[in-house]
């Protein structure tokens, strides 16, 4: 099989080490709505799109609701996944963890606890495309370049990869087009291996994409 396989993954991870007990709400702002996409590739629209985990620094009693522990206690280093009822999405891209007043799904956060919020993989967050199904690389606007593939589900519309980069009078367009051409046709990878084109969360990206200043990648799958 001659064709190359191209891998893309949208990024999405926020980590906070709790600095002190929360007097008010236990809120964590995801840096996506700012437009910089520093933490997430896109704006989260539902709390079910993310997995929220809490790793406790110390063993404590009466720390978590009954959904996590029969007696409410946790041990040092223990990690729990916050239940759907224990998290909510607030305006401004804020994920809120319910406090222990919710005796079932609530959690009390203390100094040193680590909150990790990650994107839950679904169709459209991670994909591997065949290079021989590439349709085009084209400039969408000053700061985005689209890479399109024939739709995997057979639909008339294409599957699309949107790369965001600086407005640099077209230099990024050229770099991206040349890079996609090279990975589709050349034997630059080890024989047979999948090529990771853009996995920002793992800080893995083709050199030419990095040179082009790519800061974000979003998938649009039919």
């Amino acid at each position: 099989m001659k064709t190359n396989f191209l891998y893309f993954k949208e990024h999405g991870k926020h980590v906070t080490t709790v600095a002190g007990a929360y007097g008010g709400n236990q809120d964590f702002t995801l840096l996506d709505d700012s437009g910089a996409n520093a933490e997430f590739a896109f704006d989260i629209s539902a709390d079910t799109e993310v997995k929220v985990e809490v790793t406790f620094k110390e063993a404590q009693a009466a720390k978590v609701g009954s959904a996590y522990s029969g007696d409410g206690a946790v041990v040092a280093g223990e990690t729990v996944v916050v239940t759907n009822a224990g998290k909510s999405l607030e305006s401004g891209g804020i994920i809120r963890i319910a406090k222990i007043a919710d005796t079932t799904n609530g959690i009390t956060l203390s100094t040193g606890d680590i909150v990790t919020i990650t994107l839950i993989p679904v169709e459209g967050t991670e994909a591997c495309f065949r290079s021989d199904r590439l349709i085009s690389v084209h400039a969408d606007n000053d700061t985005t370049t689209a890479v399109t593939f024939a739709a995997a589900n057979g639909a008339a519309f294409d599957d699309e990869v949107i790369l965001t980069h600086p407005d640099d009078n077209g230099a990024a367009f050229t770099k991206i087009a040349e890079y996609i051409y090279s990975i589709c046709n050349a034997n630059i990878p080890e024989r047979g291996s999948m090529i990771t084109v853009c996995d920002i969360g793992s800080d893995v990206m083709g050199k030419a994409l990095r040179d082009a200043g790519v800061t974000n990648m979003e998938l649009s799958i039919n």
Binding site: V122, E126, R133, G154, G192, M194
Partner: protein, 114 residues
């Protein structure tokens, strides 16, 4: 030489004996591979019925460890490219025989468009 990808998913402990319990596709029929959920990855194939109509596709959904999509995709590509062996017959996920040649894959589900 073309590789052929083999999957079985019997509903019981016996051999595959019903629809959608066994499938084999040429690697060239793979259109793309997508994450489907936290623990599943979908392989999209050209439909077996050969229909030209839009939106037709067959799928094999692999079940694996949480968040392990990249590894599953990489190992599947490796199998398709014959990195691990030169045989054209490639067992990907064979529940009937308990053979899973992608690390962490434990099951598959086969769905055809027709």
């Amino acid at each position: 030489m073309e590789k052929y990808l083999y999957f079985t998913n019997p509903n019981d402990t016996g051999a595959p004996d019903a629809g959608a319990e066994l499938a084999m596709y040429p690697a060239s029929a793979v259109r793309a591979i997508f994450a489907a959920s936290a623990t599943t990855t979908t392989i999209m194939f050209v439909p077996r019925d050969g229909a030209a109509a839009g939106d037709d596709h067959d799928t094999v959904v692999l079940t694996h460890a949480d968040g392990d999509h990249k590894n599953v995709m990489a190992e599947l590509v490796s199998l398709m490219k014959g990195e691990k062996n030169k045989s054209p017959f490639v067992v990907v996920s064979d529940k009937a025989k308990g053979v899973f040649n992608i690390t962490g894959v434990t099951a598959c589900a086969i769905t055809t468009a027709d």
